[in-house]
């Protein structure tokens, strides 16, 4: 869109975010009043200078490369998704920012417009929220310990004999307490992963070995639901780059869901394949599929499809949300396919470790 520079300047001054316009070489050509306020410079100090003066020294060397990259695909978008961005003020202090970029075509040539927002306040609130969740969850463990402990003792007959109806009621209380504990642990786990505090140990992990481990661990529950496993391995001894325990956690979650949604006597299919530099896992059940209305929410927190199927009870509603967080933190992706006739298949991919093989690659 062609527009006169004077018209543009007026819009800029009115903008609530700091607007910094740079040319193809990264020189600042236009700023607004909010930029002066946010960074502490007079605009005369900024105009004609490299935009790198507004970022911390440690990022200055790599920034020109990112600027050039923008021009290869100049769609309007947020800058550096997933990265922590910082601005640097005149006095040397740094602050968190969020930046949106767009390309401008003007009479004077191509320019990049960046809208910069100070996110310090928002980050503070998010940190408080996460700390609150963490403290509350830990505080809840203490009364739960007493409840579970006393129920466990009474139900086991330690305090004396109890009648069957009393025992049944107490067992309900106890199993729901167990569920509460799982829920709190899941909430804590999810919060930890989402704020990046999970300390993943990423290393090459042998895929088949992990699958065997998970199948072994879930044989009990599979027998309980009369469900068998079938494994199809097209991965040719692949290894993935992942945290082994977390990979087990994801597979266990998908597998136990598949078991619970399988018809009795049926089987769950587990497939592994190589797909251009990644390993694709899939876990399939032959149940009733995921209802249409639920498709968009399936990876959301606490979304559980409304159903009279009592086997769905007992889950915390966070399992798939945690899986998604784990897989995405490991640079993978997770998705599903479903229909009412064939059931559901959950897929996820993780980076394969480069190895001497590769003849078995499919794409």
């Amino acid at each position: 869109m062609m527009m006169g520079v004077a018209h543009f300047k007026a819009l800029l001054e009115a903008a609530p975010d700091a607007m910094v316009i740079v040319d193809r070489d990264g020189k600042i050509v236009l700023v607004n009043a909010q930029t002066e306020r946010l960074f502490g410079y007079e605009r005369a100090d900024l105009l004609g200078n490299p935009v790198e003066m507004l970022i911390p020294g440690r990022y200055r060397d790599t920034h020109p490369k990112y600027r050039d990259q923008f021009f290869t695909d100049p769609r309007p978008r947020a800058m550096g998704t997933g990265m922590e961005l910082h601005g640097r003020r005149k006095d040397g202090s740094e602050f968190s920012v969020e930046i949106s970029l767009s390309l401008l075509q003007t009479e004077e040539g191509f320019l990049v417009s960046s809208a910069i927002r100070d996110t310090t306040e928002r980050k503070k609130i998010e940190k408080l929220k996460n700390e609150f969740i963490s403290v509350v969850s830990h505080e809840l463990h203490t009364p739960l310990t007493s409840i579970l402990g006393s129920l466990g003792l009474v139900v086991s007959g330690v305090t004396g004999q109890i009648s069957p109806p009393v025992k049944e009621m107490l067992q309900i209380a106890k199993s729901n307490c167990d569920r509460l504990v799982r829920l709190i642990n899941d909430i804590l786990d999810l919060e930890k992963i989402e704020r990046g505090g999970a300390n993943f140990q990423v290393e090459p992990v042998a895929v088949l070995e992990v699958i065997e481990h998970v199948l072994q661990a879930n044989r009990g529950i599979a027998d309980q639901y009369c469900v068998s496993f079938r494994v199809e391995d097209h991965s040719a001894a692949a290894c993935v780059l992942a945290d082994r325990d977390r990979l087990i956690q994801v597979l266990t979650n998908l597998l136990s869901n598949a078991i619970k949604f399988s018809p009795r006597g049926d089987h769950v299919d587990i497939r592994i394949a190589r797909v251009s530099g990644r390993v694709r896992f899939s876990v399939s059940d032959h149940g009733d599929g995921v209802p249409d209305s639920f498709h968009d929410q399936i990876f959301e927190k606490f979304a559980q499809a409304d159903s009279s199927d009592s086997r769905q009870k007992g889950g915390t509603g966070l399992g798939l949300s945690i899986c998604k967080s784990i897989i995405e933190s490991l640079s993978g992706r997770i998705w599903f396919e479903t229909n009412a006739r064939q059931g559901s298949t959950f897929f996820f991919e993780l980076p394969a470790t480069p190895d001497t093989g590769g003849q078995h690659e499919a794409s």
Binding site: H138, H141, T142, L144, T145, S146, L148, G149, S150, G152, L153, S156, V158, T159, C177, V181, N199
Partner: protein
């Protein structure tokens, strides 16, 4: 083959009265162990002067002298050098467990715990402890 004797006496350090009652039942009635209870780190240090237990079970979060501080204080007492000290905590993260071990904890148990198996777990820790010390 086991050459060391059986676990018999526990000193349990915990400020919450409810959990004290549950652990006493779990260890005395279910596991047939002798339990002495101290309501704080300070009380525990006093109790040690009168009698050295086989094993100390120590809660992580206590007001005043907290778990880690009590642990450090206990580990400085010469008579307790060979006594296993087990930490009980709601925080079960690998980093926390490593930190507790580095402070001198023999092992770490997480809350909530199963009162029906608590005694056996302490017995297992006791056996492992003496096996590692070579007897």
């Amino acid at each position: 083959m086991r050459h060391h004797r059986e676990l018999k006496t526990i000193l349990y350090v915990e400020d919450e009265i409810d959990i004290q009652k549950i652990v006493r039942l779990a260890l005395q009635d279910v596991a047939h162990l002798e339990v002495e209870i101290s309501g704080s780190g300070r009380e525990a240090l006093e109790a040690i002067k009168a009698r050295v237990p086989d094993l100390i079970l120590l809660d992580a979060m206590m007001p005043g002298m907290d778990g880690p501080t009590t642990l450090r204080a206990l580990r400085e007492i010469p008579r307790l050098v060979t006594v296993p000290i087990v930490f009980m905590t709601a925080k079960a993260q690998a980093a926390d467990i490593t930190r507790f071990r580095n402070l001198g904890a023999t092992d770490v148990l997480t809350k909530p715990f199963d009162p029906m198996t608590l005694g056996q777990r302490l017995r297992d820790i006791w056996d492992d402890h003496w096996r590692q010390m070579g007897s």
